[in-house]
């Protein structure tokens, strides 16, 4: 185990000065860090080295990896479009293991419980460490200090930024494609394993040294639409199945039936209406969580009643957003991920349902991005503190269980709303100081709980806008104290070791916080 030097960053958090042998910049504050220098670029290639008839197929993943020059210590990237149904990431890492590779860095855009076999590969030394979201079992493994390197958690936008910075040079990108042709053009909107968009893999396809497309639905050239362009692709591998369709998209997404969560969802919708955010031509983003889905249903009725329509809605698209589009309550869906069958059908057939990527939506090194142009976003969190700082990565017991996703990037919207139950079983969500800092309080505007709505004191414009509304607007501290009265005081602080297991990156690549090993 290497030793670390720590420095206190602008958020008052102790962060390591080096992570996985790379020097780091501690978090400087929102918008305070100025990255410099040219962007990274892949090596020059020539079309003369690729088959002129366009057939880049090879027999299997191992062959493809070997022909990409697989070596020990390389960085191998995969993507989470297939969500918990993905078979390709584990197959790719296992093929690398079969080829004898060791000490790989796995660079997924997100991980799911289906990626649990990577734990074995880490135990065997095939995978050295992971830079990507660590969900469920992988998070627990990381928290226990069993991973050799430090985990690095980045937002979707931060992943693109790290690739462009050259902080993470990708040696080989393996892209699971629900449809592809032999040239490497690929999309996620068609085929038996359709997942919607493939745009989390876009950066990798452009910047990686080598790109492999893996498909179970090979179509004759041209594969239309080409969300991934074959001109960036080295090899195409055909397999029987890239994933389990029932886990790639859900048949239908379920709206919560919990009365308390429905109440929170209704408060969110009423807040948007009463604060005047819900007006003709507005925009919002909602994910696929139970509260977010329900909030869209409440908002839809309010939009109908008020005769208001949105210019665009960003998702996490589901049948509920598709209904808005079909009913004419929004002009466009700008789609980051596609969660259910109706949304997959819609993105494949409706030109107003448009795939977006972390580049258009979130990238810090872009000349602007969509996230800051959205009027309101509804997000979750595991903890929020009295400074409105929020945690989405660890639970109150300090265990790493979730990735960041687009959460940090979305905080730049006009009104970022955390919609969360104030207490889960006995565990309070409102705390004095978040266990892990994922989002600085200055970007979090409103916290909506079943016990009331707290507006960040920095947003006196919002305070003013909802004056006269019958919504239960209350100070955050007051809701917190009420919950503490209910649960019998504040919980004990978890016992955390002083060695780091992972770091949380801010959207600009600086280190926002450290995740510490959990003591047994």
């Amino acid at each position: 185990m290497s030793t670390f030097d720590f420095v206190e960053n602008a958020a008052g958090r102790q962060v390591p000065t080096r992570v996985n042998h790379r020097a780091q910049t501690p978090y400087q504050g929102v918008g305070a860090h100025t990255p410099e220098g040219p962007k990274a670029a892949p090596p020059i290639r020539s079309c003369r080295d690729y088959p002129p008839e366009g057939d880049k197929r090879v027999g299997d993943l191992r062959t493809a990896l070997e022909r990409c020059g697989l070596r020990d210590g390389m960085t191998l990237s995969t993507h989470h479009h297939l969500r918990n149904g993905d078979r390709v990431a584990v197959q790719a890492l296992q093929a690398a293991a079969a080829a004898g590779a060791r000490d790989l860095m796995w660079f997924p855009s997100a991980s799911f419980p289906c990626h649990e076999p990577v734990i074995d590969l880490m135990d065997q030394g095939v995978v050295h460490h992971i830079e990507g979201s660590m969900n469920g079992p992988l998070g627990r493994y990381t928290s226990q200090g069993k991973m050799r390197g430090l985990g690095v958690l980045r937002s979707h936008g931060g992943r693109w930024q790290a690739i462009q910075d050259g902080e993470v040079p990708i040696d080989i990108a393996v892209i699971a494609a629900p449809s592809a042709d032999a040239f490497g053009n690929a999309n996620g909107s068609h085929g038996p394993s359709a997942c919607g968009s493939l745009n989390f893999a876009l950066a990798d396809s452009i910047y990686a040294d080598h790109v492999i497309v893996v498909t179970d639905n090979l179509v004759p050239f041209p594969c239309i639409p080409w969300q991934i362009q074959g001109n960036n692709v080295d090899f195409v591998v055909e397999v029987d199945s890239i994933g389990d369709p029932t886990k790639i998209v859900s048949g239908t997404t379920q709206i919560t039936r919990s009365p308390d969560r429905l109440l929170i969802a209704e408060y969110v919708a009423r807040f948007l209406r009463d604060a005047g955010i819900m007006k003709d031509g507005f925009s919002f983003q909602a994910g696929a969580g139970g509260i977010a889905l329900a909030f869209v249903q409440f908002l839809k009725e309010m939009m109908r009643d008020a005769g208001v329509k949105a210019r665009f809605v960003r998702g996490g698209s589901t049948e509920y957003l598709v209904e808005l589009l079909k009913e004419g309550l929004t002009d466009y869906i700008l789609d980051g991920q596609t969660f259910d069958l109706k949304a997959v059908e819609s993105i494949a057939s409706d030109p107003r349902h448009v795939p977006t990527s972390p580049f258009t939506s979130y990238n810090y090194h872009g000349k602007g991005n969509f996230a800051s142009m959205v009027d309101a976003v509804v997000l979750g969190a595991t903890e929020v503190d009295v400074g409105f700082n929020a945690n989405v990565n660890t639970h109150s017991d300090g265990v790493l269980l979730h990735g960041i996703g687009g959460w940090q990037n979305c905080l730049f919207s006009g009104c970022s709303i955390l919609a969360i139950p104030a207490v889960r079983d006995r565990i309070p969500v409102l705390v004095d100081r978040v266990t892990t800092l994922t989002g600085p309080g200055e970007l979090i505007d409103v916290v909506v709980t079943e016990r009331g709505i707290a507006i960040n004191p920095r947003r006196d414009d919002l305070q003013e806008a909802v004056k006269g509304s019958d919504l239960p607007i209350r100070p955050l501290e007051e809701i917190k104290e009420e919950v503490e009265g209910m649960i019998g005081g504040t919980p004990r602080e978890p016992s955390l070791a002083d060695d780091p297991v992972a770091v949380i990156k801010w959207v600009d690549g600086t280190v926002l916080d450290t995740v510490w090993r959990v003591e047994d």
Partner: protein, 430 residues
């Protein structure tokens, strides 16, 4: 199940086992609850074994709560197992109390005296009772946030929503909920079991001063009087002076026939209500969404209640997903003279409030009548008129009552309040 005796499995070596009892729910799907098993022993002190999904954060606090409860109950030697799924302290206490009660062969279940100073004030005889939310008495998770949904009342139910095996732990839980849980201004009601079991329920819950007790399956005035006598006895013994109202539930043909005598059986009866599932079963007819088959019974109940100066409250609407059906049912019920109905899910509350709200036209007209009445009084006129029409006294009375109710329901702002607070003379009193 309720209790075990000395032939239970062998206890710890220190002492021979005396009695065993358990309470609560276990399993990974359980939320905000716990399971407590107590085995009292001859000696050996307290051995506490805990598993909890919130061990890291609350493990010590849970152990302290359980030990304190055992100490308060005078349990010095016992083997205690707790499986916790995020139960709040009062739930841990109630489950421990119930387990000890069972381990002692159903003895010594007396709770602490009521903390009267912390109770919300007593409720008015004819307060707004549009919605009353049923909460299963053995399910703590539904109780915690019930008040947030703003029902006019919550019913902590010991009867049909509680399995016969769980009656004892439910009684402990409901008692503790009355003592501890903040229901946000909702009237705190308890539905006890049918007599005679209901009398034991009364012994447990009355000391915690519920605002109202629902008596199920009442068929005769005499049953109300038996319950009333039991309540009076407990109140006298504990020197409680706040009122505890009664709402008998008529659930049979005989009960409906005796509606008026039941309504007048005790001064504490403030409302009559009806249980349509049991009533239709008694008649041998199918309960329909339109409810024609119960039309006579319901109008009979309304008439008996009004004759006795009480509120008439309708049954529940069982299909939670059918919001339009619920709204229609509620509007029909209001038209028949009912003043509220039961809810089996918090999402029904707002729909019921809408159903029982007067229309804007009704409200506007009532405000005009009240205003005309005020003017007539000011000018010392004996006759109230609105435009060219003379208004009869019953119309004035109804208008004043409607305005008062609308104000209580938050449908009118302060400025729309008639200058003189309308009393409940005549209609509301007996």
């Amino acid at each position: 199940m309720e209790s075990h005796n000395a032939d239970a499995p062998a206890g710890p070596p220190e002492g021979s086992p005396e009695g065993e009892g358990e309470a609560g729910r276990r399993g990974s799907d359980v939320r905000s609850d716990c399971w407590v098993a107590v085995e009292t022993t001859q000696g050996g002190g307290l051995a506490l074994e805990l598993t909890s999904k919130v061990e890291t954060l609350f493990g010590d606090a849970i152990r302290e709560t359980v030990r304190d409860t055992l100490r308060r109950l005078g349990v010095e030697h016992a083997r205690v197992r707790v499986e916790d799924q995020g139960a709040l302290p009062w739930v841990l206490e109630a489950r421990t109390e119930a387990a000890v009660f069972r381990a002692r062969g159903q003895q010594g279940g007396e709770g602490p005296p009521p903390r009267a100073s912390e109770l919300p004030g007593p409720t008015a005889r004819d307060r707004l009772r549009r919605s009353r939310l049923y909460l299963p008495g053995n399910e703590p998770k539904f109780m915690l946030n019930a008040g947030l949904h703003r029902p006019d009342a919550v019913i902590l139910d010991l009867e049909d929503s509680v399995h016969p095996r769980e009656k004892v732990p439910a009684r402990f839980l409901v008692r503790k909920a009355l003592e501890t849980v903040e229901f946000g201004g909702a009237e705190r009601m308890v539905r006890v079991n049918q007599l005679p079991l209901g009398l034991e329920d009364l012994d447990a819950v009355v000391p915690q001063a519920p605002d109202l007790v629902l008596l199920p399956k009442v068929e005769t005035a005499d049953q109300v009087q038996v319950a009333q006598a039991r309540i009076d006895g407990i109140r006298a013994e504990r020197r409680m002076d706040r009122p505890i109202w009664l709402m008998p539930i008529l659930e049979s043909a005989l009960g409906v026939e005796n509606a008026f005598s039941i309504a007048t059986a005790s001064d504490s009866v403030v409302a009559l209500t009806i249980g349509l599932e049991d009533y239709t079963a008694d008649l041998g007819v199918v309960k329909t969404p339109q409810g024609e088959e119960t039309w006579w019974a319901r109008t009979r109940l309304v008439n008996a209640a009004r004759a006795a100066g009480l509120q008439a409250i309708d049954s529940v609407y069982g299909d939670v997903a059918d919001e339009e059906g619920l709204l229609a049912w509620g509007q029909r019920a209001r038209g028949m003279g009912f003043q509220g109905m039961g809810c089996i899910h918090p999402r029904q509350i707002r729909i019921i409030h809408r159903a029982f709200a007067p229309s804007q036209e009704e409200l506007d007209r009532a405000l005009r009548v009240v205003e005309a009445f005020r003017e007539a009084e000011e000018r010392g006129l004996g006759v109230v008129s609105l435009g060219s029409k003379m208004i009869d006294p019953p119309v004035v009375l109804r208008a004043r009552r409607l305005v008062a109710r609308a104000r209580e329901a938050g449908l009118l702002s302060e400025t729309e309040e008639p200058p003189e607070s309308p009393g409940h003379g005549g209609e509301g009193s007996r």
